[in-house]
C-alpha cells in the first residue's frame, strides 16, 4: 500500500512538471507567433503608411496646383482685360436720379 502511495505521489509531481513545461512551451510559442504576427503587421502598416503618404503628397500637389489656378483666375487685372475683350466698358456718364415723392408706397 505504501509503495502504491509513493508511486501516486511521483506520478502527481511528474504530471505537474510536465504541465509546467508544456505551459512554458505554449507561452514561448505564443510569443513567437505574436512576434511573427506583429512583425508582419508592422511591415504591412509601414507599406500602408508609405502609400498614404504618397497619396497625401499627390493631394497636396494637386491642391497647390488648384490654388495656383485660383490665384491667377482671381486676378482682377485679368478679369478687367477679359471684360474689355468681351466688349464691356465702364459707364461713361452716370445719371443720379432724385425723387421728391416716393415712387412706391406701402399702404
Amino acid at each position: 500500500m505504501k509503495y502504491r502511495a509513493k508511486e501516486k505521489i511521483k506520478s502527481k509531481s511528474g504530471r505537474k512538471q510536465l504541465n509546467l513545461k508544456s505551459l512554458m512551451w505554449i507561452i514561448i510559442l505564443f510569443f513567437l507567433i505574436l512576434k511573427v504576427f506583429f512583425t508582419i503587421k508592422t511591415a504591412s502598416l509601414g507599406a500602408k503608411l508609405a502609400n498614404i503618404e504618397s497619396k497625401t503628397h499627390v493631394v497636396a500637389e494637386r491642391n497647390q496646383d488648384l490654388t495656383y489656378e485660383l490665384v491667377n483666375s482671381s486676378s482682377l487685372s485679368r478679369v478687367q482685360d477679359r471684360a474689355g475683350e468681351l466688349g464691356f466698358i465702364k459707364p461713361g456718364r452716370i445719371v443720379y436720379i432724385e425723387s421728391e415723392n416716393p415712387v412706391a408706397k406701402v399702404q
Binding site: T42, L45, G46, A47, Y68, L76, S77, Y96
Partner: protein, 569 residues
C-alpha cells in the same frame, strides 16, 4: 591520441582568436563607418516645406502668393546624349527671346556646366515653370532632373509693386523679402521648414517601430491688407495715363481711409515687375510715396492755416492786413503765385486764392515756436510709422533756429520737405476731426486657426474739432472757387487743395520745373477716402490746377461711383 586532441584544441583556440580578431575588426575598428553606412541604408528623411505666407487684398484675394517652380539640374555621368546635344535640346526652353544670339549663348552656358570634369550634379536653371518642366519631361532626357523650388507670384503683375516689394535671395542664398510689405513683414511671412527622419525598409517604406524623429514645419502667416484691388487698379491705370498726358517724369498717388488709416491703394510710376525684379535697376525699388521727399508747396498751407485756427491767432473771417502787395521780409519779397493781390482778404480767401502773402501773415501770427510744435504734432519731420519697408523722413529745421523768412516760406510750403505719405497723414487729421491716425497697410495677420487684428493707431488730437471743421470748410471753398475750380465736379462734397512747388536746385529754385500735387477728401462731412496725387515736373503745364487736380478728380469720379458716394443735388 592525446597529441591529436592537443592539435584539435589548438586549432579550435586559434580559430576562436581569429574569430575574435575579425569581430574586433568589424565591430570596433570598422564599426563606426559600417554603422554610418547602415544608417544611410535604413534611415530615410525628407524636409517638410514651410511655404511663405500670402499677402491678401481686403476681399481676401491674392496680391502675392507662393507658387511652384523647379530647379533643373544635370547629372553629367548619367547623360546619354552628351553635353552638347543635351544643351541644344534644353536651351530653347530656357530663353525668353528666341533670337539666335541668346539661344547660342544659352547653349554654350549649359554645355559648359555639363561638360565640367569631375562633377556629379550641376544646377542648370532655377525658377522654371511647371509647364516648361512638363515639356522637358516629355523628352525623357537621361541625366536631367528637377527639384521643387518655392517661387513668389504676383497675380496683378506690377500693380502695387512698390507697395508689395519682392522676394529675392540674401547672402546665404535664402529667400528674403525686400521693400514694401515683403520687406517689412519678412519674418512674419517666412515659414520655418521642418524635417522627418526615420528607419525604412529596403523598399523605402517606414518601419513603424523603428527610430522616428520629426520637427514640424511652421508655415508663414498670411497678411490681410486694407488694399482694395479696385482702388489699386484704378490708381495704377489713371496715374499712368495722367503721367503720359501731362508729360510728367514720375508720379504717385495714395488713397487712404482717414478714419482708421487703412491704405486702400498706393501707386507710383515708373514702376517694376516684382516677379522679374532682377531685370530692373535699384532706383526702381524704393517706394516714392514713402521715400521721395519734396517741397509740398501750397498743399502745406492747410496745415499752417489749421494750426492758426486751432491756436486762435486767426479765425476764418480774420482779415489779412498785409495782402495788398508783395511782402518784404529781411531782404526777400514774398509774392503771390500769379502776382495778383487781394487786400483785406479773409483767411478763407487766402486759402481759396492760395495766397502766399496771406499765408506769410498767418505764419507771422503763429510764430516760429508754435509753428514748429504744430508741424511736429502733424508728424512733419517724423516717420509716419506706416508698415512698409523703406520709409524716410526729411528733418524739420531745429526748433529755435527758424528765421523770419523761414517761417514765412514754410507757411506756403517752401523751404520744408515732406514725403507724400506724411502729407496724407497730416491732412487726414483735418478730415478726421482733428485726430491723427497712423497709416496702415495690413489689417489682420492670419495664421492657421488664429488671427490677430492690427488695431488702428490713434496718435491723439492735433487740433480741435472746431478748427478741423473750419479748415475743412476752407478746403471745400478752395475746391469750389480756387484755381482748380474748373475741374471740380459739381454736387460732390469735396474738400481739397492744389500745390505747385518749385524745385530747389543747388541753392536756388528752378524757374521752370515744378512738382504739382493735389490733396483732398470726400465726402467732406463723412469722408470715405482721402487722396493725394503728385506729379514730378509735368511738362504740359507747371501748375497743379491744370495737371494734378484734374488727375485727382478723374480718379475721384471712379471712387465716387465705387464707394457709392452720391452728389448733393
Amino acid at each position: 591520441m592525446i597529441n591529436r586532441l592537443k592539435v584539435y584544441s589548438l586549432c579550435l583556440l586559434l580559430s576562436f582568436f581569429i574569430l575574435i580578431a575579425r569581430l574586433f575588426y568589424w565591430q570596433i575598428y570598422k564599426g563606426k563607418g559600417l554603422s554610418a553606412q547602415a544608417r544611410v541604408q535604413y534611415q530615410s528623411g525628407y524636409a517638410l516645406l514651410a511655404p511663405r505666407g500670402n499677402i491678401l487684398a481686403a476681399d481676401s484675394t491674392w496680391l502675392s502668393a507662393s507658387g511652384k517652380s523647379w530647379l533643373v539640374y544635370g547629372v553629367p555621368p548619367d547623360l546619354k546624349k552628351g553635353s552638347k546635344k543635351t544643351a541644344e535640346t534644353l536651351a530653347p526652353f530656357f530663353v525668353e527671346d528666341e533670337d539666335k544670339t541668346s539661344l547660342l549663348s544659352e547653349i554654350d552656358r549649359i554645355n559648359e556646366l555639363l561638360s565640367k570634369g569631375g562633377i556629379q550634379w550641376t544646377p542648370l536653371r532655377t525658377k522654371v515653370s511647371d509647364e516648361t518642366k512638363q515639356n522637358i519631361e516629355k523628352l525623357n532626357l537621361k541625366g536631367i532632373g528637377f527639384e521643387f523650388q518655392e517661387t513668389r507670384i504676383y497675380p496683378e503683375a506690377s500693380s502695387g509693386a512698390h507697395l508689395l516689394g519682392f522676394v529675392g535671395k540674401n547672402n546665404e542664398g535664402q529667400d528674403e523679402g525686400y521693400f514694401g510689405l515683403e520687406g517689412f513683414y519678412d519674418k512674419t511671412l517666412t515659414g520655418k521648414p521642418g524635417f522627418i527622419t526615420r528607419d525604412s525598409d529596403a523598399s523605402g517604406a517606414p518601419i513603424i517601430l523603428g527610430a522616428f524623429r520629426e520637427m514640424s514645419a511652421i508655415g508663414g502667416v498670411n497678411l490681410l491688407t486694407h488694399i482694395d484691388k479696385t482702388v489699386q487698379l484704378t490708381l495704377d491705370k489713371k496715374l499712368k495715363h495722367g503721367i503720359e498726358k501731362y508729360g510728367a517724369l514720375a508720379g504717385s498717388a495714395i488713397v487712404m481711409n482717414p478714419k482708421n488709416g487703412g491704405i486702400l491703394g498706393m501707386s507710383s510710376f515708373p514702376s517694376y515687375d516684382p516677379q522679374k525684379y532682377w531685370e530692373y535697376g535699384d532706383q526702381f525699388f524704393n517706394n516714392p510715396t514713402i521715400f521721395s521727399s519734396f517741397e509740398p508747396g501750397s498743399i502745406f498751407k492747410v496745415l499752417i492755416m489749421a494750426a492758426g485756427l486751432d491756436s486762435g491767432v486767426i479765425n476764418p473771417d480774420t482779415k489779412c492786413d498785409s495782402c495788398f502787395g508783395p511782402l518784404k521780409i529781411d531782404k526777400y519779397f514774398i509774392e503771390t503765385w500769379n502776382n495778383e493781390y487781394y487786400p483785406e482778404s479773409t483767411m478763407t480767401d487766402v486759402i481759396v486764392h492760395s495766397d502766399n502773402v496771406g499765408m506769410a501773415y498767418v505764419g507771422q501770427k503763429l510764430g516760429q515756436e508754435k509753428m514748429f510744435d504744430y508741424l511736429n504734432s502733424f508728424g512733419i519731420g517724423q516717420n509716419t510709422g506706416i508698415d512698409l519697408q523703406g520709409e524716410i523722413s526729411p528733418k524739420l529745421r531745429e526748433k529755435g533756429s527758424w528765421g523770419n523768412i523761414d517761417v514765412a516760406t514754410a507757411s506756403f510750403g517752401q523751404g520744408v520737405a515732406t514725403t507724400p505719405i506724411q502729407m496724407l497723414r497730416a491732412v487726414a487729421a483735418i478730415a478726421n476731426k482733428g485726430r491723427i491716425i497712423t497709416p496702415q497697410v495690413v489689417d489682420k495677420i492670419i495664421g492657421e486657426g488664429w488671427e490677430e487684428d492690427i488695431k488702428e493707431k490713434d496718435g491723439g488730437r492735433v487740433i480741435s474739432e472746431k478748427a478741423a471743421n473750419e479748415m475743412t470748410q476752407m478746403m471745400v471753398e478752395a475746391a469750389k472757387k480756387g484755381e482748380a475750380k474748373w475741374t471740380n465736379i459739381g454736387g460732390f462734397k469735396v474738400a481739397g487743395k492744389t500745390g505747385t512747388a518749385q524745385i530747389p536746385i543747388a541753392g536756388h529754385y528752378d524757374e521752370e520745373k515744378t512738382n504739382a500735387s493735389f490733396i483732398g477728401f470726400a465726402p467732406y462731412d463723412n469722408p470715405k477716402f482721402i487722396m493725394i496725387v503728385t506729379l514730378q515736373e509735368p511738362s504740359s503745364s507747371p501748375w497743379a490746377s491744370e495737371t494734378a487736380a484734374p488727375l485727382w478728380y478723374s480718379i475721384a469720379v471712379d471712387l465716387f461711383n465705387y464707394f457709392g458716394i452720391q452728389p448733393d443735388n
